[in-house]
Symmetry: C2
Subunit: 231 residues, 2 copies
DNA sequence: CGAAGTTTTGACATCGTTCAAACAACGTGG
DNA sequence: CCACGTTGTTTGAACGATGTCAAAACTTCG
């Protein structure tokens, strides 16, 4: 049985560029491919604007000692600005083979400002997640975000997503540890809220339930009774 | 003994506008005063840009149930953009009597984009704080940030800051509870790192030590020996 | 003085981390 | 093809930092 690892697969399915943001301006779009683990434009002299065509980028921030915080996950159609950080190094890392359009912010002021607004709004939301949510809410919100950014074909009417993030990436994004992420995902799986056999392809079996968890309704204790869960 | 509460005092000391950002553009600067607790421009039809002249603003985000996350604290000289949020209501609240310049982003594109960059950079930093730091690190970083934004006259050579935030505000900013904030501050105080008699005026007695705590060097257990602390 | 709000403190519970180990998937080289 | 190393995932047990609950102490103000 041939199983293609989604994280490593080169352009797993035909490219369909989603134009969630404004179309590119005058100068010719410069396409670039990045391999998983590679960092983007470390040596860029001028600020750059990247728009993801296919794949997945992570906006990372390192914290002196090894600690890492991923501040955003960027999927196809979304753009991200490379800002030269004053203190506390930061980087944009590819989590899979990724294709990006490299743009000049100066030549695309509208896209640049739209990207800034979008990043700001998402980041503020994420700050609320990091500061005020428990593990289950964090993971639920994370999954819903990723399901919107990395959708696959429905499976039996249920949304499916490609999980380009490892448990470790998820942990660094959601402010948790790998263990807690793994435990929470398996808890969801046991409760029938999500499903997965390969760690990188997740089905949202009960998206409504996931949304409830995301806004704070706790997942009822399910170790008490093995039945009475599914409708 | 006449004690003026710093949080309630109307313009406690002579205004000295710090122009950390670009000077205002063409159209006449429109000044506005806000009382503590008041929200800013809830009914604004168009996006607005506010530059703090004097006082303190908090960028808040509400979370369905009562939970609140303050994503940024804005002091004199800094600007903040009012963005109409899609989901999850947000607001800009004054934490003391505050004077702001009300500006039109369209008329001040440079200031607007500079503000966006600044907010983004601070927020990303704050996300790392929320997601990856323990209580002591959070409080230390918070204090250092506030000391830079709300400096008072040195006291015996030590930096002093006006703490416009209540313990509850600090908790909502740093992703903690009031109790933990209070405990941590008193822990710092007992260790001689900071000092305060009134809850709103804090002296950084040992700023270098505070910086070390801020980057992760833990505050040594000090309940073991009451002496041997200071050099 | 008494009321209301804020801060501090204590006792206790708990969620998430830490530490450790087993397991699974994958690539490599024999 | 299999043994092996590496990396990622899962699981268990124990601990501890932080949250929760409750109440006292303090500040401000009527």
């Amino acid at each position: 049985m041939l199983h293609v690892n989604a994280r490593q697969a080169m352009l797993p399915h035909p490219v369909l560029v989603k134009t969630g943001l404004k179309p590119v301006g005058a100068e010719k779009p410069f396409l670039q491919f990045i391999a998983p683990g590679d960092e983007l434009g470390v040596s860029a002299t001028s600020p750059r604007l990247y728009r993801v065509v296919e794949g997945c980028l992570a906006d990372c921030r390192l914290l002196g000692d090894g600690r890492r915080q991923i501040t955003d996950i960027v999927g196809p159609g979304r753009a991200i600005a490379q800002q030269p950080e004053r203190d506390g190094s930061c980087a944009i890392k590819a989590l899979t083979f990724t294709e990006v359009e490299v743009l000049d912010p100066a030549a695309n002021p509208a896209l640049a400002s739209e990207t800034a607004i979008d990043s700001l709004s998402r980041l503020a939301r994420h700050a609320a997640l990091l500061g005020r949510m428990n593990a289950a809410e964090k993971v639920a919100n994370g999954l819903l975000d990723l399901a919107a950014q990395f959708p696959r074909k429905l499976r039996q009417g249920h949304p499916v997503l490609t999980l380009y993030l490892t448990r470790s990436d998820l942990a660094d994004w959601l402010g948790l540890t790998v263990e807690t992420v793994s435990r929470t995902l398996n808890q969801f799986k046991r409760a029938g809220v999500i499903d997965y056999s390969h760690a990188e392809i997740v089905t949202l079996s009960r998206p409504e339930r996931l949304k409830e968890i995301a806004i704070g309704r706790p997942l009822a204790k399910l170790n008490s009774k093995p039945k009475g869960e599914h409708p």
